[in-house]
């Protein structure tokens, strides 16, 4: 069995603001093994980015409160000292961010930014050695003329090349966990496909565990082994890729699957949408957070459904919905495809 890298247990993150307490993450539980890609799917405000940044201690601050546990190879991250975290960041857990132009320092050369990371963790490496390593990494992620380009500044790179540089930087110390936070969202479609191909190569050739944060179910289908679906701070469903796509248990997942455009099929007459808006995380609805937008809600939804296995044959397929499994199978079927509601007008 592959080595267990991460064990997250009932993670809770909240931020105190002037308007009240924002419960950004409310009960997230998952594991990550070596060599697998775990996708965290959700829309803005779902808590997917906060979850991944919390693993690196990047959400710490005077107004942040944490509960639960997040362990990297058995070592607790939530209570780790800032110094311990420094050793973990970049070396054990590395991160690729969404917007490569704002995520790279504008005033330092690309190569130097990679060198800085390498030398932050090992002072014995000389600048020259680190630079050579940086060039090697840049070549590996497909940056042409890497030695010359390493001396360029981020604004002299195109969006795609910047993201490649970010990936090179994240890989520089062969981290066990790689977190990619919407790495393709800010890029053009053809470049998106290139970066996605790059991440897939990575998946095949390294034994890191990858957490891929995204809102795009198409990308998920392309890359993930397992999927977590988040809504308004909570995990509403998690399971293997096929379980989520072919036997989705939560109405929110149905809604998401229903609203994705498929290039290979005729489009529906009317675009299926999820009615309403996501709730405020300060004054979230009682019970199931999706209840106000869910056409299938009933009395029991006023209670928070626990995240548990409800499909008999799939013990690792968890969801937070009170509906009966058999009932769900008929409700989600709309004209041969999965959707939230029959008349989505």
């Amino acid at each position: 069995m592959a080595e267990r890298l991460l064990e997250v247990e009932d993670l809770q993150v909240s931020f105190a603001t002037e308007d009240g307490v924002v419960r950004a993450v409310d009960g997230v539980t998952f594991t990550l093994d070596r060599g697998e890609v775990l996708a965290i799917v959700g829309e803005s405000g779902s808590g997917k980015s906060v979850t991944s940044m919390t693993l690196m201690g990047l959400t710490r601050g005077p107004n942040a409160r944490f509960a639960g546990s997040a362990k990297l190879k058995g070592k607790e991250l939530l209570t780790a000292s800032e110094e311990d975290l420094q050793h973990i960041r970049g070396a054990e857990i590395a991160m690729i961010f969404q917007d490569p132009i704002s995520s790279l320092s504008p005033v330092h050369r690309i190569g130097d930014q990679i060198v800085e990371q390498i030398r932050a963790h090992d002072k014995k490496v000389s600048k020259g050695e680190a630079f050579d390593h940086a060039v090697e990494l840049m070549e590996r992620v497909g940056i042409p003329h890497a030695r010359a380009r390493a001396r360029a500044f981020p604004h002299e790179f195109s969006g795609g090349m910047r993201q490649r540089a970010m990936i090179a930087m994240a890989l520089s110390l062969s981290p066990s966990v790689l977190i990619a936070d919407e790495p393709t969202t800010a890029l053009d479609v053809t470049i998106q496909a290139q970066i996605l191909a790059e991440v897939k190569t990575l998946k095949e050739h390294s034994d890191s565990g990858i957490i891929f944060v995204t809102h795009d179910l198409g990308v998920v289908a392309d890359i993930a082994d397992r999927v977590i679906v988040m809504y308004a701070g909570r995990v509403v469903e998690q399971g293997t890729l096929d379980e989520i796509f072919y036997d989705p248990q939560h109405p929110y997942t149905w809604g998401l699957l229903g609203s994705v455009t498929r290039m290979d099929r005729d489009p529906p007459k009317r675009l299926p949408s999820i009615p309403g808006l996501p709730p405020s995380l300060i004054r979230a609805p009682r019970g199931c957070h999706f209840r106000p937008r869910c056409p299938h809600e009933f009395e029991r939804c006023a209670e928070v459904p626990p995240l548990e296995a409800r499909v008999a044959e799939a013990p690792d397929h968890l969801d937070r919905c009170w509906l009966e499994v058999e009932d769900k199978r008929t409700r989600r079927e709309i004209e041969g495809r999965i959707g939230l509601v029959r008349d989505a007008a």
Partner: protein, 316 residues
């Protein structure tokens, strides 16, 4: 770079021209302004005034007077009306005193502001930050003449730690030089420390939320390194612009209150006297002197900007 120098030189010339015309023009329209009478003296006969007017060309049309004055300025022959001193040599001999006052004061306020602004940002919302904020507001709201006077009264007159007023040149006695200037330095610097440190603090707090700072943290850099290399460096740039302009105007004589109060024979003191007497030549030269420094430091700051930030290109 060549383009930059050429363009800046041209804009400097244009600015000097505009400044001189405006300053000269202002006095032309001031109703109580009568240089001939001022030079001739209070009890002068109309004949004397007429002679003076003729000698100095005050009867000539505006543009002639302007051209004559410019010619005198650029040939270094201009004299002030009050004491018939050569204005250019007066500026030359007084400039070292102004430099002695302004350069150390600028260093004091810049360094202090960087330290205090950083502390304030790193301790945002805590006691140190709040205390510094109160100090900054007090510093900003006290006018320089009051602060200077209070310092003089307390430290020079009551406690006699520092000399009363006066100036000793650096070349004759460095220790005395510093001793005499400490109070003036601080009375200039204190105001700016408050203001600069507040601006830096807010720049720093904005910068901390930048994505690339998050990346720097995610790389596993120590907090100090993240702060020094990524946060502070980018936050200093707006401060630099302010600093360049403030420094330039002080060199041009904007420290006139401090110089007058502490009796420092700098260009500001000379300008203050000239303003009191409506003595056009020193005022005009002072304004052009300031404009020159403003352009020069504007250009220097742009060069520094381009060195610090590779995205910035030098444009004219």
């Amino acid at each position: 770079m060549g383009r930059f120098i050429v363009r800046r030189t041209l804009s400097a010339a244009a600015l000097l021209f505009a400044t001189s015309v405006v300053v000269f023009g202002i006095f032309e329209v001031i109703p109580s302004y009568n240089p001939g009478r001022a030079i001739a003296g209070r009890n002068a006969t109309p004949q004397t005034v007429a002679i003076v007017n003729k000698k100095f060309g005050f009867n000539q049309p505006f543009y002639r007077q302007y051209l004559n004055t410019m010619k005198l300025i650029f040939t270094g022959q201009i004299v002030d009306y009050q004491d018939q001193l050569n204005v250019v040599s007066e500026f030359k001999s007084r400039f070292p005193a102004t430099l002695s006052l302004v350069i150390p004061a600028a260093l004091i306020w810049l360094i202090a502001a960087i330290i205090l602004g950083s502390v304030s940002a790193l301790r945002a919302g805590r006691f140190a930050d709040k205390a510094l904020m109160v100090m900054a507001i007090v510093g900003v709201s006290i006018p320089v003449f009051l602060l200077g006077a209070v310092l003089l009264y307390l430290l020079a007159y009551k406690l006699t730690i520092f000399p009363n007023t006066g100036y000793v040149s650096l070349t004759s006695n460095p220790a005395q030089w510093a001793y005499y200037l400490i109070l003036p330095w601080f009375s200039i610097a204190l105001l700016s420390i408050g203001f600069y440190s507040r601006v830096l603090r807010s720049n720093l707090l904005d910068m901390v939320n930048e994505d690339f700072v998050r990346t720097a943290k995610a790389k596993g850099l120590s907090q100090q390194r993240v702060f020094r290399r990524h946060v502070l460096r980018n936050s200093l740039m707006p401060i630099l612009t302010m600093f360049g302009l403030d420094f330039a105007t002080l060199l041009g004589g904007a420290a006139l209150v401090t110089e007058t109060l502490f009796n420092i024979p700098g260009v500001g003191q000379y300008e203050a006297t000239a303003i009191g007497n409506l003595d056009v030549p020193p005022i005009l030269v002072g304004a052009m002197f300031t404009a020159f420094f403003v352009v020069l430091f504007g250009a220097l700051i742009d060069v520094v900007y381009a060195l610090l930030d590779p995205r910035v290109r030098l444009t004219g």
